[in-house]
């Protein structure tokens, strides 16, 4: 059980995004804005991505992060936000033990 009442600054995606911005990096922020079924991460969860594809946080517990990172790099380039939708009800995912079986909508936007 996580008992901390303060931010975990080393792992908090929004703190990391701010740090990257201060370092002069281009950053995208992905946010879970809607879920259906047994989505592994709650609405409001963040994944932050820089232009080199480094990322922190999660929007699905590993199922769709790869795809979100690819889209995020495009969003950093174009500056145009995107809404992504994933169905993670995948037989293979279930078999390898991912807590999937839901669908999620992820909003990806550039910082600045």
């Amino acid at each position: 059980m996580d008992d901390s009442i303060y931010l975990d600054e080393a792992r908090d995606p929004l703190i990391i995004a701010e740090g990257w911005m201060k370092d002069g990096k281009d950053v995208a922020i992905a946010t879970v804005v809607e879920t259906w079924g047994s989505a592994p991460r709650p609405v409001g969860s963040h994944l932050v991505i820089d232009a080199e594809g480094n990322f922190h946080g999660s929007v699905s517990g590993g199922c769709v992060e790869g795809a979100v990172v690819t889209e995020a790099i495009d969003v950093i380039g174009s500056g145009k936000a995107r809404m992504l939708e994933f169905g993670v009800a995948d037989e293979t995912a279930w078999q390898v033990g991912l807590s999937c079986g839901g669908r999620i909508k992820v909003y990806v936007e550039r910082l600045g």
Binding site: L14, V33, V43
Partner: protein
């Protein structure tokens, strides 16, 4: 996201203040709303709900779709007194999602053997609260019965706007406490916020049952935040 908005949001989160990030999903514009900021209409009602529940989600208002990301500090419970009630209260509150800190300068009471896995301070509340101040996302339960230990913490909790303040003791004990708090400079309406006798009235008798009553009252206070104030005005 606007870089200034991100900076502001992180400042609020670091300071343990609640904030809702409002993003217009049509044009991507965003802004921070702090607790108590006036926002009109359906959007304002949805924001108020996000503050109360801590749940994020989308809302349709003014013909647009907004995403509300609720950033609420994690509530915590500070217990003054490493007594029998606290031994039951600490694990129960933790399971319910309210991490507990126990403060009691009496080293015979505040021992790790009696309180395994609990943040325990065998110090005076004056010293601990100077380092880790109370705030509006903190509940305070004073259960030592000893004015020397309880009173300072109760006054500090009222001044910090703790969402819950409870004090153990009979009505007679509390009447004397009210006199002392007035002498310390607390206002009458401030003092009226103290739940005393402590805990929901469920006929609790044993220390563990009293702990249940305190926890239930804490949860009720947390989930009705803001509603109480509006009721007082009406």
């Amino acid at each position: 996201m606007d870089p200034y908005v991100l900076k502001t949001l992180n400042e609020e989160r670091r300071a343990r203040r609640a904030a809702v990030l409002v993003t217009d999903l049509g044009d991507g514009r965003d802004r921070i709303v702090r607790e108590g900021d006036p926002v009109a209409g359906d959007l304002g009602m949805a924001i108020a709900k996000a503050f109360r529940t801590g749940n994020s989600g989308s809302v349709e208002a003014e013909g647009r779709t907004f995403f509300l990301n609720a950033h609420l500090p994690r509530p915590r419970l500070v217990v003054i007194g490493a007594v029998h009630i606290s031994q039951a209260l600490a694990p129960m509150a933790r399971i319910a999602g309210y991490p507990v800190e126990i403060i009691d300068p009496r080293t015979a009471f505040a021992t790790p053997e009696r309180f395994p896995d609990v943040a325990l301070h065998a110090e005076w509340p004056e010293d601990v609260l100077k380092r880790a101040p109370l705030d509006s996302y903190t509940a305070l339960a004073a259960v030592t019965h000893d004015p020397k230990i309880d009173d300072f913490a109760l006054k500090a909790a009222l001044d910090a706007g703790c969402f819950y303040v409870g004090a153990l003791g009979s009505r007679k004990t509390h009447a004397k406490r009210v006199e002392r708090l007035l002498a310390l400079g607390a206002g009458a309406e401030q003092i009226a916020r103290i739940h005393a006798p402590i805990g929901l009235d469920i006929g609790a008798a044993s220390p563990a049952e009293i702990a249940v009553a305190i926890l239930a009252q804490t949860i009720h206070a947390f989930r009705s935040r803001g509603l109480e104030a509006k009721g007082a005005v009406a």
